[in-house]
Symmetry: C2
Subunit: 257 residues, 2 copies
């Protein structure tokens, strides 16, 4: 009565991967929004690390006793990272994956660099996913913050960060997530076309280092055909419940995890 077999359980748990496939299946006239070549294979026992800013942070606990425990909700926060982790841990219950989050709200790429030894290299991730860039432009748009960053600085620092990472961790599998905004809330016309340059820079970083690129902007551009921008991110930057859930599905699909 209360039985189902392993095959059915695994079918069930392949959910996001299987069904999200359709997110990239387009009509014949359309190309997929997901890249077809680079796919991350997450192997048994591997360490997955999510890095970034507030979107990744999503209220995660800074308490070391929580943050240092793999797969633990308080340490993983309330955003796409935890949602993706939860799904992975359902999909692959016996694979002993160890998933961490070290996103910090407000951070720009140079601030990742400042804490990279402790918050990335020391954790020895097998799979490293980075989502960074929205503050690099946002803080430069706010005269009160006196931040003088440019897209050239962003790209230079991002390249350097990835090079440093590959030197320390030659076997790391890298996932570069596209910075994104929704056109609502804090996101006004003054963000454009500059913001598009940051997205392009992130894509160049991904391509140069053969990383998997997760095109979140393309995803949200598609999503707003079905509900207004505010449904996905009230302030245009921080995803809603729906936005975070969509990101998690899309991330899992993009990395083939």
């Amino acid at each position: 009565m209360n039985e189902f077999n392993r095959r059915n359980f695994l079918q069930a748990s392949a959910i996001s991967a299987a069904a999200l496939a359709s997110l990239s299946i387009c009509t014949d006239a359309q190309a997929s929004i997901l890249p077809r070549k680079t796919k991350v294979k997450v192997a048994k026992g591997e360490v997955i690390l999510f890095q970034g800013d507030s979107i990744t942070d999503a209220g995660r606990s800074r308490d070391k006793q929580k943050a240092d425990v793999a797969n633990n909700q308080p340490g993983l926060g309330n955003g796409y990272a935890w949602l993706a982790a939860g799904q992975l841990l359902v999909d692959r219950p016996a694979d002993e994956l160890r998933i961490f989050n070290r996103g910090i709200s407000g951070h720009k790429v140079f601030q990742l660099a400042e804490r990279w030894q402790t918050d990335c290299l020391d954790l020895k991730p097998d799979v490293l996913s980075i989502l960074i860039g929205v503050n690099d432009i946002w803080h430069s748009l706010d005269p009160n913050l006196n931040y003088k960053g440019t897209v050239e600085i962003y790209e230079r620092d991002y390249h350097a960060l990835v090079e440093r990472t590959k030197k320390a961790l030659p076997k790391v599998t890298l996932v570069v997530c596209e910075p994104f905004v929704l056109r609502c809330g804090a996101v006004t016309d003054k963000w454009f076309p500059e913001f598009d340059k940051y997205r392009a820079a992130a894509k160049r970083v991904a391509d140069k280092h053969h990383a998997t690129f997760v095109p979140f902007q393309a995803m949200f551009d598609a999503a707003i055909k079905f509900a207004p921008p505010e449904h996905w991110a009230g302030d245009g930057v921080h995803p809603s419940s729906a936005g975070a859930a969509l990101m998690a599905h899309f991330w899992l699909k993009a990395v083939g995890a």
Copy 2:
């Protein structure tokens, strides 16, 4: 390039519902662990309310400005309720669902009754999901707590609560979730067979009031064939990331949302 059509988007977002179907598809020799008859149909614009104890609460904000905003992560907490909400809001972006959580950690069924006017009836839910019972037995097992509850009291109070709800909200669609435990952490042999009586009582409440019953115990009994109990709930009571994600998928499937 960045296009996909509505049909593909909706296919993508039907993920959990579609793929979790397999969670209830068993071999010919096996019966489904999900009931086949009662299915909740959540209609456009409806209010969904999650009620219960710490498993539902999952760290949700008590700040009224957060808790009273529908679909808002801080108000929905970090558990299965938020995960199910996030998925629903991805699946049905244009349907203007309004989802709330009013679980409170530590609560037993009589404590739900004490706050039912404010925390349930006043919210006028169209769909009400209740998960309650683990503290009703747990607190009775702890001599320090001096709680004298029994399964008879649990069932009597639960029936009364549901009757009161149906009187105030005759059209409410009711979802009764099965209390569950994993055999690890705080859950020792002394819980049994008494705990099974609480599960059976919850099932009788569901059946008597024609509610959809979500058999979480059956789900976890199946899940432990694929990873140890601790993978799903470290202390045997509170779901891990994986446990909460599995619950959300299963809840969505069970209620047909």
